[in-house]
């Protein structure tokens, strides 16, 4: 029987934290820990989830959990896994939850090292597309056009000029045993991927898009909807990498309007029709590559 909201563990492992209303990242952490269960050690670097969950004496993880250095999510996971194994302890999950900056910027070296060693860890990147904890600064996973506090939208520069770094395929290029993309708009898909990762030996990487109402400028009750829409309009996709090949898990019948997705968010409000056309072109180029290189289900 597959995992679903009906069969999911009722125990809460991430509870009583002070994340913003409508936080996508906290949903990803909460659901992943329900799938992985009590024999999990969670490692979280500096970032939103550690900032909202570890304020002494109000500690919010029901399982073992620790904050790592910002750059050290993967290397600390390595140590946790090796330390437990060296003491003869087995049947556990060493799982990391790092944001986009903690993963694609400052933490990418340690992540690459862990994948290279094929350490038996699960690394989950909750991607809210900017340094939200420090006040919405650009990361290398901030999409083209987004206004952040370090990529202001003015008359000279209209927000972030660079596209999102392709972390999923960068990770896959290591020859990792398992990597996947996900969105908090498709929780059954995410749960299935976490469960699958938990049964594979070696390094596992799941990249989950997790909207941030505070940073994206959306209503707090729209998080899940926007996380669906980003997939439906083709700016994000649900896929897996295993045994050396990519598989697309979900193919929208027809893409919804990119402009509608962008204009819902105040971070894209300034975009011109020309900018939106640029986004469409890059989406279409990406999907051409997906059709070329991915197995389509």
């Amino acid at each position: 029987m597959g995992l679903s909201a009906r069969t999911l563990n009722e125990e809460e492992f991430f509870y009583g934290h002070k994340a913003c209303a409508g936080c996508g990242g906290s949903l990803a952490v909460r659901i992943a820990l329900k799938v992985l269960g009590e024999r999990s050690v969670a490692v979280l670097p500096a970032g939103c989830m550690s900032a909202v969950g570890f304020n002494f004496p109000q500690l919010c993880f029901g399982n073992n959990a620790i904050i790592s250095t910002f750059a050290g999510t993967a290397s600390m996971l390595t140590g946790v896994e090796a330390g437990l194994r060296a003491q003869g302890i087995d049947n556990f999950h060493a799982v990391g939850f790092a944001g986009d900056g903690g993963t694609a910027d400052i933490g990418i070296q340690a992540l690459s090292g862990a994948i290279d060693r094929n350490d038996d860890i699960i690394y989950i990147c909750y991607d809210n597309e900017a340094y939200m904890n420090t006040g919405i600064q650009k990361s290398s996973l901030t999409p083209f056009g987004a206004k952040t506090t370090t990529t202001p939208a003015g008359s000279n520069i209209r927000g972030n000029l660079r596209p999102k770094k392709n972390m999923f395929e960068i990770v896959a290029a290591h020859g990792i045993p398992y990597a996947a993309t996900a969105s908090i708009g498709y929780l059954n898909d995410f749960m299935r991927k976490v469960e699958k990762a938990s049964k594979i030996k070696g390094t596992k990487y799941i990249h989950i898009l997790a909207p941030c109402p505070t940073g994206w400028g959306t209503a707090t009750d729209e998080t899940v909807e926007i996380a669906k829409e980003v997939v439906e309009c083709g700016l994000w996709y649900l896929a897996e990498y295993e045994n050396g090949g990519f598989t697309l898990n979900y193919r929208p019948k027809e893409f919804t309007d990119v402009a509608a997705y962008l204009k819902k968010q105040s971070r894209f409000k300034h975009l011109t029709e020309e900018d939106i056309q640029t986004v469409r072109y890059s989406r279409d180029a990406k999907w051409e590559a997906i059709y070329r290189n991915f197995k389509i289900i």
């Binding site: 904050i67 140590g79 070296q109």
Partner: protein, 395 residues
């Protein structure tokens, strides 16, 4: 194994092997490499049962060790110079989390200019990071420190990481005859690592958390007390060590012919061997000179120094370090100890050995000679032509 001909690095590796760490994470840097190469051989041949993790940087080396320590594993790492600086963020992390990791640091100069040779600016720049800092004089002491480091670091009343410093090349690469204890002896000295400060499936914990202004001082105060407690635990460890192995160490400082000495040179690390020889020669000439070797600089031997220096007429601190714009850091620390004890004597600072510059017997003779003038000065040794740039002020 009995008597072996070993370099400082190798001796330290054998000491670590006897301590049975469960996780070793390391990244190579000259002149530390041999200690981790030796340990990987000992893991390969089955002498040591440990997870050897080939991390991709020093930051990850210590981050990995913190992760392993946080689940209750005994851990070891080693570094030097730029590597120590690269992992600096993790140094305060390990100490703040009260993780008793042991690290060997091969003392080496720090860039710029690039230089692979030994001085002590790397470790002395990290005095405030909450680690115990010890400095070995020779290969035997290196091995013995490796074994004792875990005893001290893991002691419940200490719970602090331990940095054992070996002078780069001069100690790490010089071969000496070293007594390597038997495993059974080592096991009778060092108990297994037992801690409640760990993540545990029977008793889940959240570690390495945030603590705001209300609680922060209390955590830092306890950390400070832990390091101060190391003083009595070091004494306890050395007493037990002497009982089992027959080698007696002398706590935070080693006093050499200081009982009736008028002029005392204070230093740390391997240069102490040469100073001892010089002291013997000067003593033979009837000169009342002595040496104090700082074996530990954190915790700092305030009372020990005050006791040993109370009858001296003048002291000199010889160190391979400078805190730019002020003076040698060891000198600052020593003067603070004197001041607190109400001892008012001339103290001078000799900054030497930078970037591996040789400190000669003549240099040491000059220091003892100048001590008789009972002045307070700060001087560089081995300027190599830079004397033409005038020292801006009197001090």
């Amino acid at each position: 194994m009995g008597k072996c001909f070993l370099s400082g690095n190798e001796a330290f590796a054998y000491g670590i092997c006897l301590a049975r760490p469960q996780v070793i994470s390391a990244y190579p840097i000259t002149p530390q490499t041999i200690v981790v190469e030796k340990l990987s051989e000992l893991v390969e041949d089955g002498s040591l049962k440990a997870e050897f993790i080939h991390v991709e940087s020093e930051h990850s080396a210590l981050s990995c060790a913190i992760g392993a320590s946080a689940v209750g594993a005994r851990t070891f790492t080693a570094t030097s110079s730029q590597g120590l600086l690269y992992m600096a963020e993790c140094l305060t992390y390990a100490s703040g989390g009260r993780f008793p990791i042991v690290m060997m640091n091969a003392n080496r100069s720090t860039a710029l200019p690039w230089n692979i040779y030994g001085d002590q600016r790397d470790s002395l720049s990290q005095l405030d990071c909450g680690w115990i800092q010890a400095y070995a004089e020779n290969a035997q002491e290196s091995l013995d420190l490796a074994l004792m480091s875990y005893y001290v670091a893991e002691h419940r009343e200490v719970s602090a990481p331990f940095m054992a410093n070996l002078d780069g090349f001069v100690l790490t690469h010089t071969y000496e005859v070293v007594e390597v204890p038997a495993k059974e002896q080592a096991d009778s000295f060092l108990p297994p690592f037992v801690t409640e400060n760990k993540m545990d499936f029977g008793h889940p914990r959240n570690l390495a958390f945030s603590a705001g202004p209300e609680h922060n001082t209390a955590f830092k105060y306890k950390e400070h007390i832990g390091l101060l407690n190391a003083k009595k635990v070091i004494a306890e460890a050395e007493e037990k060590f002497a009982r089992i192995f027959g080698r007696q160490y002398t706590g935070l400082i080693e006093s050499y012919r200081t009982e009736d000495a008028d002029y005392i040179l204070i230093t740390l690390g391997s240069i102490a061997g040469l100073v001892k020889e010089k002291v013997d020669k000067l003593r033979a000439e009837g000169k009342r000179v002595g040496l104090i070797r700082l074996r530990y600089i954190r915790p700092f031997p305030n009372e020990e120094l005050a006791g040993a220096l109370k009858n001296a007429k003048a002291i000199a601190v010889l160190e391979k370090d400078v805190s730019f714009g002020n003076e040698g850091t060891v000198f600052t620390n020593v003067n603070s100890a004197l001041h607190k004890a109400g001892i008012s004597i001339a103290s001078s600072n000799y900054i030497g050995g930078l970037g591996g510059k040789n400190i000669s017997e003549a240099d040491i003779e000059k220091i003892f000679e100048e001590l008789k003038e009972e002045k307070t000065t700060i001087q560089f040794l081995g300027l190599g032509g830079a004397e033409k740039w005038v020292y801006p002020q009197g001090l």
